[in-house]
Amino acid sequence: DVKVTQSSRYLVKRTGEKVFLECVQDMDHENMFWYRQDPGLGLRLIYFSYDVKMKEKGDIPEGYSVSREKKERFSLILESASTNQTSMYLCASSFLQGGQPQHFGDGTRLSIL
């Protein structure tokens, strides 16, 4: 089975902190994605990556950056956390070919105080 592992299930940080969310997949997928999920707003794509060191902005990249130094690992960085970044963050991965399903981790529920 595909395994997408997010490093933390719950995380509490303070405003202004630099926050790292880590995601690792074990299926040799080329694509990796970061979403945030908020009530009433559905899933919104923050960033995605289709190869090592490659990244593309999604729909809501402001306030976030990403890093992909190895194929299996995709990190989301909140440069200076703010309270409006309190959310559920979901990582996903898929093969590069179009039309492939994405496989999701269990999510990180992040609270910024």
Partner: protein, 114 residues
């Protein structure tokens, strides 16, 4: 361009009765379509996928969906609801030219009454 509309934000059924969750899509190309389920505080789990093979797709846990090109629909059904089916369901369209990017519906919350 691609889009997906889940026609009901909430659906409530009694245990043992059929489930119907409705999804319409729009795509400039032949799309791939998916249904995912999300239980509370969990990630999304793939239920089934349509990728231009058979129009009736069977998934896990007794769910199935039928691709109807003429109606641009991909409704999810199950003959008999179980309490464990209570969750949020997402319809997803993927344009096969878009290298893996997908568009998610807003979700349908399924409640199952005993």
């Amino acid at each position: 361009a691609q889009s997906v509309t889940q026609l009901d934000s909430h659906v409530s059924v009694s245990e043992g009765t059929p489930v119907l969750l409705r999804c319409n899509y729009s795509s400039s190309y032949s799309p791939s379509l998916f249904w995912y389920v999300q239980h509370p505080n969990k990630g999304l789990q793939l239920l089934l996928k349509y990728t231009s093979a058979a129009t009736l797709v069977k998934g896990i846990n007794g769910f199935e969906a039928e691709f109807k090109k003429s109606e641009t629909s991909f409704h999810l059904t199950k003959p008999s609801a179980h309490m464990s089916d209570a969750a949020e369901y997402f319809c997803v369209v993927s344009d096969n030219t878009n290298a893996g990017k997908s568009t998610f519906g807003d979700g349908t919350t399924l409640t199952v009454k005993p």
